[in-house]
Each structure stands twice: as C-alpha cells, then as structure tokens.
Amino acid sequence: MSPATAKMVNGEAAAEKSRRWQKLIRPELNTILFLILSFVISSFLTPYFTDIEFLLNSTSLYVEFGLIALVLTLVMIAGEIDLSVAASMTFVACVTAQLFHHGVRMEWALVIGIVFGAILGAINGLLVTKTGLTSLIVTIGTMALYRGLAQVLIGDNSLGNFPDWFVGIDKRYIFDVIPVPFLLFIVMAVVMEAILRLTFFGRQIYAIGTNSEAAKYSAVNTNKVKMILFTLVGLVAGIAGILSMSRLEIARYNIGLGGELDIITIVLLGGTSINGGSGSITGTFMSFFILMILRTGMLLANVKRFDQLAIIGAVLIFAMIVSNLLNSFTASKG
C-alpha cells in the first residue's frame, strides 16, 4: 500500500466527520433556525402563546394548505409547479356540496369529489405532458378555469346543511388533544417522506428535477411520473377541499382564494428549489409549523397585518443569511 493511499484513508475519516457535521447543518438548517426564532418571537410577543392545546387547535386552520404543500413539494422537486391547487380544492368542495344537495348520499358525494380532484390534477398533467407547455402557464390557466367553473356551478350561494357526522372535523380529537386534521397531516407527511426517500419512484422524481434529459436517457418515463404527481396533487387538493367543507360547514366558490401563494411559500421556505432537483418533506413539514406559529403568535399579539408581513419577511431572510454563514463557516473548516 503506497503512502498516498494511506493518506487517503485517514483523510477520509476526517472528511466523514466534517460531512456528518454538514449533514447536520446543511439542508434544513434555515428552516430549523426559523422555527426556533418564530417560537421565541411568538412567546416573547404574547403570554397567550404557550398554550399547546390552542396551538394544536390552530393547525386545523392551515392544515388544508399544509396537506397540499406536502404533495406540491414532490411536484416542485420534479421541476414543475401547480398554481391551480387552491382552485381545485374549492372546485372539489363545490362539486361535492352540489352533489349532496342534489340528493347524492354524502358518502358517495365525498368519494366522487375526491376522484374529481384527481381528474382535475390529471387534466393539468395531460396539458403539461402532452403539449409540452410550461406547467406555470398551464396552471395559471386552469387556476382561473377551475375557480371560474366553481363559481358557475354554485354562483354566489353558499351550500351547507351537511350531515352532522360530516361537519366539524377540526373539533374531533384523537386522545382528546390531537385534532383529526392534524393527525392527517402527520400521516400524509410520513407517507410522502417514505415515497420520496425510500422508493425508487422518489428517486425518479429527484432525477427529473435534476436533469430531465439525463433521466430520460436513464429510461425514466418522465411523462408518466409527472402525470402521477399532478394527479396526486389534485387528489390531495380534493381531500383538502372536503376538509375545508367539514371545518367551515359550507362550500363556496371563493374559499381559499389566493391560497396557492401561501402553499408555495410553505414549500419554498422548506428549502425546495423552484428549479427542481432538491427539497424535502421534512423541510415542508417544518416550514408549515413555522408559518403557523409565527402567524398565530402575531395574531394573538394583535400585531397589525402588515407589520406581520414585514416581520415574516425579515425573519425569513435573516434565518437564511445566518444559516448560509454557518454553512460556509463549517465548509471552510472542513
């Protein structure tokens, strides 16, 4: 064995160590920092904040977007985007409610609604894969179309009077403390993370976002993967729509208006790249809580909406800068 190889082995050990350090620090560092920061800020702002029960309860308000954000993370890792998610969510709620009001049993209406959501997603997928158009533009179009059709479908009414067993899901608890929607969010996060990390399908998603041409050369059916992802995001948007119906006890066409921006903010804040190829469910999961905690904290403190915006924005950038500095610090040490 030459001295050079021996040196390699030693160096390797050192490198591994520093890598572990970096692993600890790298991908979701800014999210973690942000999370801590938001917690500190929030509890500093108001004494009402450190009430865990209330916090858990508050998640129900945002869970619908959170669920969608989880799946949208996969779509964005694959280098695509779906702006029609919030519109699909509402459209599904309207269709389900309308079916119910036309005498379809609620159970069936729900099933049809969720399938309908998947169809809406599949339409996006088809438009993107068959025509080769940019998903950004396609979904800007379907965003208006879906919400528009929802408006046509139920006009300016609200549809309500759903059966008792259906409404108020946000007020049902597991073990008396965990709201059902919250549990759903956790389960969904685990499932998505498993898909992304532990299956070959997850690999394919990353590959498409990293370099779709190389993925094609590696025999990935990029169109099929994208189709599945768009359909999945539609399906979950459908579920979110139904959750919103249960929580609000009504359906109307303009629920969740502009929600796509909130959803994308969650995903981006979680460290997913807008150009695809990188990102994680853990990141999205944490950034969901960050935004929720910050908002809830500031709401409780009666911070004015636009001061809230400025604070959220500033904390966001600050956390990113700090984590970047930490990164370069560890990198230079390594």
Binding site: T5, M8, G11, Y206, T210, E213, A214, K216, Y217, G334
Partner: protein, 503 residues
C-alpha cells in the same frame, strides 16, 4: 531553456477537498514558446492543478508566479486579465447563445473597452475565421443547443484562441475529436508556439503528447513524479511513471464465439435530415465499430436505436422479430443499453452520489418486492464497481460532480453494465480515460463479447476501432459509406470511407 524567464511557475501548490489531499506540493514552470504536457491517470490532479492556476479553485497552500511575479489568482477574471486562457475539460457552453457569442462572451468587453455595444458584424466575421482555421463547419449564428460534445469542444477551443492569451491551458481538448481534427488543432498549437505563447497540454493520448510537446510533467496521486524532455522519454516509460507499472496499451481482440444467427438486424433506418439508409446485422458475441468524422451522425444513430429520437423509416429486428422502439423504456425491455457520449449532460446526475447514479437504471436490482429501496444492496453494488473499474473516489457516497472526468466516465459505464444488457451501445466509451483504465475497458468489452453480448462501439479513436471491431460501419454526413468485415478492416479504408468515399 534556462535563459528564459518562465511565464508561469508554481511553487509547492497543494490542494485538498474536504480534508482529502488531491495535490501535494506541485512545482513546475512553463516557458514562452513551450508546449508543456501534463499527464497522469484519471484523478491524478491534472485538472485541479490547472484550475488553480486559472483561478477556478484556490490552492490550500503554495504560490503562483507569472513572469516571476507572485500573483494571487482569485478568480477566472483575474486569470483572464493576466493573459491566461483555459480550455476546460468539460466544455463551458451556453446553449441559448449562438456560436459566435459562445466564443466571445466574457472577454470581448475587455478587448473593446471603448464601446458597451456589441459589434455583431465584426464578431461574426472573426468567429467564422477562427472556426475556419480550426477546420470546423459550423454556422456561427446558430444556437449552440444540441451541438455534439466534439463541436462544443471546438467552440471552446476557438474561444480560448480568440482571447489572444499568452498562456493557454488545454485540458483534454482532443478527447472528443477525430484524428483529422486533432491534426488541425496540433497545427494551430505549433503556430501558437511559434508566436511565443506557452501551451499547457493535457491529454491521455500519448501519441499526441509525443508529437507536440517539448516537455512533459507527470503526476500520480497528486504527487509530481517528474518533468522530462519529451524526446528523452518513451511511451512505455511515460505509462510506467503514470501508473506505476507497465501495461500493454492496446490489448488484442479476443475472438469471441460468434453465433450463427444475427441477433439484431437494422434495415434502412432513417430520420429525415439526420441520417438515412443505415443497415447492419449484429450477432451475439460480435463487436460493431462505428467510425466517422465528428458530426457524421453516429451519435444520432445510437440515439435512434435507443428510442430517444425514434426512427422515422426502416425496421429493426431483434431475434428475427420486428420491434418498435419509441423510448428508452422500450429499449431497456429489449435489454439494450446506451452509454452516451455526453456524460455530464446525459449520462449522469451530477449532484447525485456514485452509488445512486450506478443503480439508477436498474431499479429491479435495488428494490424489494414491495418497492422499497435496498440501500445496503445498492452500496454493495457500487463498491463492487468502484473496485472493479478502479474508480478513484473517497467512497460511493461522493457526488459524481466531484470526480475527475475519467472517473465520471467509469461511473456512467458502470451504470449501464449493471442493467446487464444484451445489446450494449457505447458512444465514445474511452473519452477522457487514461491508458490504464482504457485497457480495463477494452478487457470489459472483450469479456462482454465473450459472454455473448452484442456490442456497438462508436469511437473517434481509430486504433480502438481497428483492433476491437469484428465489423466496422463507417458514416459520412448521415449516410453509411462502408460496412467492413473483419478481414477488410484497415486504417486506409476506414479513413477513406469516413471522408465520403463510398466503398
């Protein structure tokens, strides 16, 4: 040339990446009017050394002198201003800009300080002249996107030449080129040398080194072995100093047992405007070499066979059954594999680890019945290939973008070997591979043939075509000009057919 002052001199340059030393106290100097070759195995540190001098990386230790003045080359901009140009090993291309812009971007502004406006007319003219002198037929107003690696390399060369630099570093400029083009480039280098410029020339093709260089510096494992006058050292000595042992460079073809029935039959396939009327047969155990000049359409044929741009006319038969291959997915079903020539753009997912890259086309090897990934298994497979193909790396989790060019090529090869293909298409399989590794790859090709696989090997290196092929298909501008049987193969015939003569 001790009376002259070296234009570039390095003193004890060392470099480590995340704790691993890849260069250890390298000192060498280059004089004006000298062609200084830099050779070494894949991963020896040639590119790293060159990148340090050109400001891409910062050295961990050591000093750089230009005209005997100590400089700190903190960025490529500084290098450019010092009159240093670099032809990168992997072409730096801007697919959305046209060829002329690709040549000039980044340094014209410095040259034409007087104007913030681009002089389009002058630029196109200058670009055309440059490419003409290189003997490249490319439209300077065409977008670069989709150009073959060889053409991109030419553009890169033109760009370096256009900078009018005093020192030009050439990191494997000829890896993707055919002998013809190499000849032109060497002519230009002689001219530059005559003008008193210093050239640092990196190549794995030792004939070129012998032909063009004045001195040669040999690196091994990040250490400098020595600097020699080229005329004082012969080929075998070079190899021995590079890899620490002697090898037979071009191992002879081991005749494999060739089946009687053709396994793959290709009849008159064509894609409009790209290639037409390509026909050949391939038996189990046979190696079909495809030769031709850059841009002859060889890569296009490979892409078509593999279903990336499906054929528009003609037929393909596998085992006597007609097949349609519309996508790589279909191709894989027929147990085909394609190792593409553009390893960085198409062959590999650069940010991914070696093991993830290797396993990516063989999901069945690393997933359980339920679809879960088997990480242990994946690791073992990768380690196996790292060992067998002698991939120089920290470990299998290192991102491939950190590997040296040659080692990346090996990963790309490993990825497709793992699919256990029946028909293996290799597009420039030894591009940028060192002599040692080359023989390894030849051995692998021989072994695969012996195992009864069908192999299509596209190569711009004539010697490997001539020795390894059972049959050679020669292309010229999208048509087939010759299909030579084993006994007919000769350098003259291949060259003649490659330049358009129908045989």
């Amino acid at each position: 040339m001790p009376e002259k002052v070296p234009v570039i001199r390095t003193l004890d340059i060392s470099k480590s990446f995340s704790g691993i030393n890849v260069l250890n106290k390298i000192s060498f100097e280059v004089y004006p009017g000298e062609v200084h070759a830099l050779i070494g195995e894949n991963g020896a540190g040639k590119s790293t050394l060159v990148k340090i001098i050109c400001g891409v990386y910062q050295p961990s230790a050591g000093e750089i002198y230009v005209d005997e003045k100590k400089v700190s080359v903190s960025s490529p901009i500084v290098a450019r201003d010092l009159g240093i140009a670099l032809i990168h090993q992997e072409p730096l291309s801007f697919p959305d800009l046209d060829i002329a812009e690709n040549i000039f971007i980044g340094h014209t502004r410095v040259k034409n300080k007087q104007s913030i406006f681009v002089d389009w007319h002058g630029k196109y003219q200058e670009a055309r002249q440059l490419l003409d002198s290189l003997g490249v037929k490319l439209d300077v107003k065409a977008k670069l996107r989709g150009l073959s690696v060889a053409d991109q390399q030419m553009v890169e060369i033109a760009s370096a030449l256009s900078q009018n630099a005093r020192v030009i570093f050439m990191d494997e400029p000829t890896a993707a080129l055919t002998p013809d083009e190499v000849g032109k480039l060497l002519d230009i280098i002689r001219l530059l040398k005559h003008q008193g410029k210093a050239i640092i020339y990196i190549s794995h093709r030792l004939d070129e080194i012998k032909e063009i260089s004045d001195r040669v510096t040999i690196l091994r494992d990040g250490e400098k072995i020595g600097t020699y006058k080229t005329k004082d050292i012969n080929r075998d000595q070079m190899i021995e100093k590079m890899i620490g042992r002697t090898i037979k460079e071009l191992i002879p073809k081991e005749p494999a047992k060739i089946a009687a029935q053709p396994y793959l039959v290709v009849k008159n396939i064509a894609i409009e405007g790209v290639f037409k009327d390509i026909s050949f047969e391939l038996r189990e155990g046979e190696i079909l070499g495809i030769a031709g000049l850059v841009g002859a359409g060889r890569t296009e044929v490979a892409r078509a066979l593999f279903g990336i741009t499906p054929i528009e006319k003609g037929e393909i038969f596998i085992r006597g059954k007609k097949v349609t291959i519309k996508s790589p997915l279909d191709a894989i079903k027929y147990k085909m594999a394609l190792v593409p020539e553009d390893r960085q753009g198409l062959g590999l997912l650069l940010p991914w680890s070696i093991s993830n890259n290797i396993s990516f086309s063989s999901p069945n090897r690393i997933t359980s019945m339920l679809g879960w990934l088997k990480f242990k298994e994946e690791q073992l497979i990768a380690d196996n290939y790292i060992h067998n193909l002698r991939i120089i790396t920290r470990n299998s989790r290192q991102p491939v973008q950190e590997l040296s060019g040659g080692n990346q090529q090996k990963v790309s090869l490993a990825k497709w070997l793992l699919t256990e293909p029946k028909i293996l298409i290799l597009d420039e399989p030894t591009r940028g591979i060192d002599v040692g590794a080359k023989t390894e790859i030849y051995k692998i090709i021989n072994r695969l043939a012996a195992e009864g696989k069908c192999i299509i090997m596209i190569s711009s290196e004539l010697p490997e075509i001539l020795t390894l092929s059972d049959r050679v298909l020669v292309m010229y501008e999208g048509t087939m000009t010759a299909l030579l049987e084993r006994e007919e193969i000769s350098e003259q015939k291949v060259m003649a057919a490659a330049s358009g003569q129908k045989l």
